[in-house]
Symmetry: C2
Subunit: 160 residues, 2 copies
Amino acid sequence: MTTRRTQGEPSDEAADRLAVEAAHRAYYDAWERGDVSAVGAAWLPDDDVCCVFPGGEPTVGAAAVRAQVEEGVALTPGIQFLFEDVDVRVRGDVARLTCIENAITPGTFSLADVADFPEEMVDLPSARLAVTSTFVRTADGWKLWMHTVGPVLTHLDLEE
Amino acid sequence: MTTRRTQGEPSDEAADRLAVEAAHRAYYDAWERGDVSAVGAAWLPDDDVCCVFPGGEPTVGAAAVRAQVEEGVALTPGIQFLFEDVDVRVRGDVARLTCIENAITPGTFSLADVADFPEEMVDLPSARLAVTSTFVRTADGWKLWMHTVGPVLTHLDLEE
């Protein structure tokens, strides 16, 4: 179910949605090129930020989120993201974006090539993921407040 | 990392956090007793609601969320929830709660006992899940805007 901006909407809301989608895209662009500084700058500079990565527990707090995100970037060299069903809704100074994230990876790689990890091979398969991102409007643009990424089990359909 | 309300905080924020945690608890209490009406009433009556259940894609829109939630209640008879690390933060009229949800289930059961499904047995193991819930303040109390539940892989620790 996809709701995209359309012609004829109130311009402010349409502009907000465009800006939120641009912030989302900038975050993932920075991740793709391994720019941890830009990835970190996409977040609110406050301690109430939180994130959930696939298989992980909620990570709460600015320092913890930053560490988690920097580790995530370090562990996903060469990753690329393709999005489906991007849906943006704005409520005043808070907006949320949901989408499907197709994370395309180079496959197996050596951690020793990318970080100060023991020399071992890591299998990082491409994956289909469910994303929710909640942004807050600031003087410096829309910033991430919450971000969840979860695995999509494509065979999961109890009704079939 | 857990932040709980403490004595001496501004009373309004402490009251808000208590109210949000109570709304969270009421939602899960209703789920435990299979009260689909109360579970549905915990959500904003607006079309920008969304949810992500374990292994699923984002579900967007009032009707779709309600259908998903009602199916979830129907498929989890006898479930009980125990929470850890409940953390509530308030930003004006929006609040978010993160926690670990320990979902305790009766194990294997027959779908035919609980719903109009074909007579088959379903294995519903107990699970450790990561929850994020975003609430909006309304005249009728705090209502769910977004809700994500994802599986926690307890063996996932690349740094060990």
